[in-house]
Symmetry: C2
Subunit: 290 residues, 2 copies
């Protein structure tokens, strides 16, 4: 099965698990589905399954569950980040944000429920290999919570003094490190050599996101542009300028490809990162100065 | 070691795991500790460890981790329930609620981080017995998220039509069922016979909480009283009257004690529930009519 079909099938199964039955409050169940479908590019689970394939993918059901779990956590973070007390975003992926569509109480609970569902999906899929399952739970937790996951990353935005490298590693890098490491773990391989690839892809996405935000590309963002400047958030454009940020993005992507560990699927994985790279590096509008 | 010492030691270890190091945003780390210590009665982890003891407690480190994980999830639910979009509570356990002390962004992230930390603590403690660990992760997830956990319970409060039995089972019962079942699981026993005890204790706590809320006992609640009537929430006093609710509470507690499965520690566990019962049944002020 193609990776995108595997991902959507696994996510649909997770939503049935979380929302099904007469015992569930129906609006919260609807909000879970609204927050997760239709998806964005599903980049994190695609990387996860690509690494699992590169490592032999000997337990595809576990890899699929890991991919779904990671995407659920990512979607949870979007729902909470959009809340009025954070970004106060009216739109996400081209439609009303969850709190605009369902109200704040259900938006808070949607994020909470998706986090929990991520761990539940992993635990249920791991019956055949509890040791791998526990490794996946640990890795997902480390990349989601405190002290180094996306919660920590968002938490840095409430500090007067920011540790910038810790902030970026946690805020954007963590879930990409989870993607590469969980892909390796699901296939029974040592996750450690895969950390570097995840960290570099995460760094590239951060720079690409900053560029799209600065260039005002609301359509491809699916959310309001110009937010970094509006919220005075540290970003690559403030640091390097637009043209400098583009050069930095190209450097990072080159480093990411050369960091791929030796494995049977190395070439296919390099091709995947190259495809992402071509999409990520923006066409700079005429007249933009570095 | 006494149960309360085991619980506080395990919670302190969890907080070191979640908040430690220069990589963590310090205010969020402080908020995690603020939300969890000093604790309330630690009733859920006490029940969990009591059941584990009654079942032989052959892996005490795993039982301790399960107790800490369950209390972290409970504390997370209190932080989110206190948010302005839910109860808008100014105080909790006799001090300012987390969002009053640290602001809403960090209160949302504190709840999120404590949920994740609960699963991480379980996964780390389960190295020696991955199969038990996965069972614990599954049970904790089921009692926390959708469709039947405390998130679902809170979600029912956003519905026009409420399934009252599902609401109560999820909102209060779920974490007590988690307590008894996780105690059994941590000790390697079948959790299924322990569900009934957890459900009955949960029902008793719901009625006792409704009574304290109605009788205006803000001191022992550690939070504002009269909230059920103020928010028109379904409650036992509206259903049975004060004296009827007291009788119902006594009936439930009697049923809870007789539901304890046969096991080596049965008598000690019955004594524990009896002690809770004596604390739970309130002294009715003179002049209160049923």
């Amino acid at each position: 099965m193609a990776l995108d079909a595997r991902i959507e099938t696994a996510i649909a199964a997770a939503l049935r698990l979380g929302g099904g039955g007469a015992e569930a409050p129906p609006r919260l169940a609807a909000a879970l589905e609204y927050a997760v479908t239709p998806g964005g590019a599903r980049i994190r689970p695609t990387i996860l399954l690509s690494v699992a394939r590169a490592c032999g993918d000997d337990r595809p059901a576990l890899a699929d569950a890991a991919a779904a779990a990671l995407e659920l956590i990512h979607c949870a973070s979007l729902v909470h980040d959009d809340l009025p007390c954070f970004d106060d975003a009216e739109t996400r992926r081209g439609k009303a944000s969850v709190h605009r569509a369902y109200g704040q109480p259900l938006a808070v609970l949607t994020g909470d429920s998706l986090i929990v569902l991520g761990f539940e999906v992993l635990a249920r899929a791991a019956e055949a290999d509890p040791r791998r399952g526990l490794g996946l739970v640990r890795t997902l937790a480390a990349c989601t919570g405190m002290p180094g996951g996306i919660c920590a990353g968002q938490g840095w935005e409430s500090e007067a003094q920011v540790n910038l490298s810790a902030y970026h590693r946690a805020k954007t890098g963590a879930l990409f490190v989870a993607a590469t490491q969980m892909g390796a773990l699901a296939a029974g391989q040592d996750p450690e050599p895969w950390e570097d690839l995840g960290a570099r892809i995460g760094e590239a996405f951060q720079v690409a996101d900053d560029l799209r935000d600065a260039l005002g590309d609301e359509r491809s963002l699916g959310k309001p542009a110009g937010q970094d400047a509006a919220h005075a958030r540290p970003n690559a454009i403030a640091e390097y300028g637009v043209l400098g940020a583009v050069r930095r993005l190209q450097d990072i992507l080159g480093g990411a490809i050369s960091s791929i560990p030796h494995c049977p699927g190395e070439a296919a994985l390099a091709a995947l990162v190259q495809r992402y790279a071509e999409r990520m590096v923006p066409v700079i509008p005429a007249g933009v100065q570095g």
